[in-house]
């Protein structure tokens, strides 16, 4: 009834690749931000809080457009940094990664923070009193205790990355075989009157991936719950 062409397989591959890379790069950043917001008191905390959560409320198209203004050939960062270095971001898969990172970042930070705030501060203080350095106590006390948050945050971001459309289509374009992700390919098929079958087929792939992600999420959650 339908047959996937090379560009369809590539769309699936690109989607997964972008979501995985974006999640991996964001993880340390989101952890740092969540750590600062939970354990540190500093000026401008509200500003950081608003900045981090802004992508949650902004339409993804706005994010895409702002990124384009920043990173484009005539953008602020584009003109001063990227062009002299010969780096091209817009319309490559790296742009899709950046778009996904920005859009998914608040979800990840929130998941980690919720877990971090539940950590008993006295454990951290005790480790410091017993002579652990700052990083030592982070890696031996905080990371293990908010491991569930890290997993949950990663999965949320991964899932959000798979579905990212608005920002991605603006900054990564729609290049079959290079930056076309599943949602972009579906959009292409849906725009055309006689490609419903292909659109449906890719929708099914999308549903399957999402179901797998959710099952893994549940399973990990239960496993962690039992151990805790």
């Amino acid at each position: 009834m339908f047959a996937f062409g090379p560009s369809d397989y590539s769309a699936i591959f690109v989607s997964v690749k972008v979501a995985v890379v974006a999640t991996l790069i964001s993880l340390p950043l989101a952890f740092t931000v969540a750590y600062c917001m939970t354990f540190k008191r500093f000026k401008g905390m509200l500003v950081l809080d608003v900045l981090v959560n802004l992508p949650l409320t902004l339409p993804p198209v706005v994010i895409g457009y702002l990124l384009l203004m920043l990173l484009g050939q005539n953008g602020w960062i584009g003109t001063w940094l990227l062009q002299p270095l010969g780096i091209r971001i817009i319309f490559t898969w790296k742009a899709a990664v950046i778009a996904t990172m920005v859009v998914g970042f608040p979800l990840m930070v929130r998941a980690i923070r919720t877990n971090m705030e539940a950590i008993d501060r006295r454990l951290v203080d005790a480790s410091r009193l017993l002579g652990a350095g700052c990083f030592d106590s982070i890696f031996t006390i905080i990371v293990p205790l908010c491991f569930r948050g890290l997993i949950a945050g990663s999965l949320l971001m991964f899932a959000r990355g798979l579905g990212e459309f608005g920002a991605t289509i603006i900054v990564a374009g729609n290049i079959p075989g290079v930056t076309q992700t599943i949602p972009l390919a579906i959009y292409d098929y849906v725009s055309s009157p006689n490609r419903e079958v292909m659109a449906m087929a890719l929708c099914c792939v999308s549903i399957i991936i999402s179901v797998v992600v959710l099952i893994v999420h549940e399973w990990l959650g239960k496993r962690m719950g039992r151990r805790a």
Binding site: Q73, N74, I175, Y187, S191, S192, N194
Partner: protein
């Protein structure tokens, strides 16, 4: 307490009644037109409304394929203007347009735009470029014509993975204007009307692709509206053709 509530609800109730009793705009024409026609059709609508003051327009511009799909799925269109015959034939096959009303209203040409300093003067030169914008051939006629030309000249395989699929022809031009792509396939009319930073590097030879033809037709609901039918007639008058020519469309 009750009095307070009444005052709170009253404006809402009045607003709802107001909406319900608003006179039904019988002469509103729902126009679905190809993105490349945007400015010309806007001007034509204004000119038509001047002669027929009771005609108002509701306009929807997008890729012709997307519009065809919307109409097929029941979007309230009275009139459809496509940038190719393919999607018009498709809707005719589905009996979504009134076959007797189909009329060609304009023609166009495919060109390649890019930054003025680019050393590109014919189709085979574009294989040296890194990124080229093209309307998604599945739904955008400009992309379909461009793909036809690329295939006929045998360079479509070489350009694989370098074609940025835009949602309509205007987006192609926007990408080129912003410098995010080296060049883009657009219509002569788009280049003439809107190109600021880019210029036409070459005109795609007509023997490489089928002629860019704009057929217009009334849908079932449009056939029942007098103003819609007279607007379609108006599009073929010399006065309307003069406006088309102003925007760079040709009538032959």
């Amino acid at each position: 307490m009750i009095v307070k509530n009444v005052f709170r609800i009253l404006p809402v109730v009045l607003a709802v009644f107001g909406l319900l009793t608003m006179p039904v705009q019988a002469e509103e024409i729902n126009l679905f037109a190809a993105a490349s026609m945007r400015d010309a059709v806007d001007a034509l609508c204004d000119a038509f409304a001047e002669i027929n003051p009771d005609a108002t327009f509701q306009k929807n511009y997008a890729a012709s394929g997307l519009l065809a799909k919307q109409i097929e799925n029941g979007a309230p269109a009275d009139m459809y203007i496509s940038a190719n015959t393919k999607w018009m034939d498709y809707l005719q096959g589905k009996k979504m347009v009134n076959a007797a009303s189909i009329a060609v209203i304009a023609y166009n040409e495919l060109v390649f735009v890019g930054m003025p300093e680019l050393k590109v003067s014919e189709l085979k030169d574009i294989v040296t470029l890194e990124r080229i914008a093209i309307g998604s051939p599945m739904s955008v006629p400009a992309g379909q014509y461009a793909m036809e030309a690329l295939k006929k000249s045998g360079i479509d395989q070489q350009l694989h993975k370098r074609l940025v699929m835009a949602r309509d022809v205007r987006e192609c031009l926007m990408y080129a204007e912003m410098g995010e792509v080296e060049g883009a396939f657009v219509y002569m009319t788009d280049a003439k009307q809107m190109a600021k930073n880019t210029r036409v590097l070459f005109v795609v030879p007509q023997e490489l692709y089928s002629r860019v033809t704009y057929p217009a037709a009334l849908t079932a609901s449009g056939s029942a509206k007098i103003q819609a039918a007279s607007f379609l007639d108006y599009l073929r008058t010399p006065a309307a053709q003069k406006i088309f020519a102003l925007f760079g469309f040709t009538d032959k």
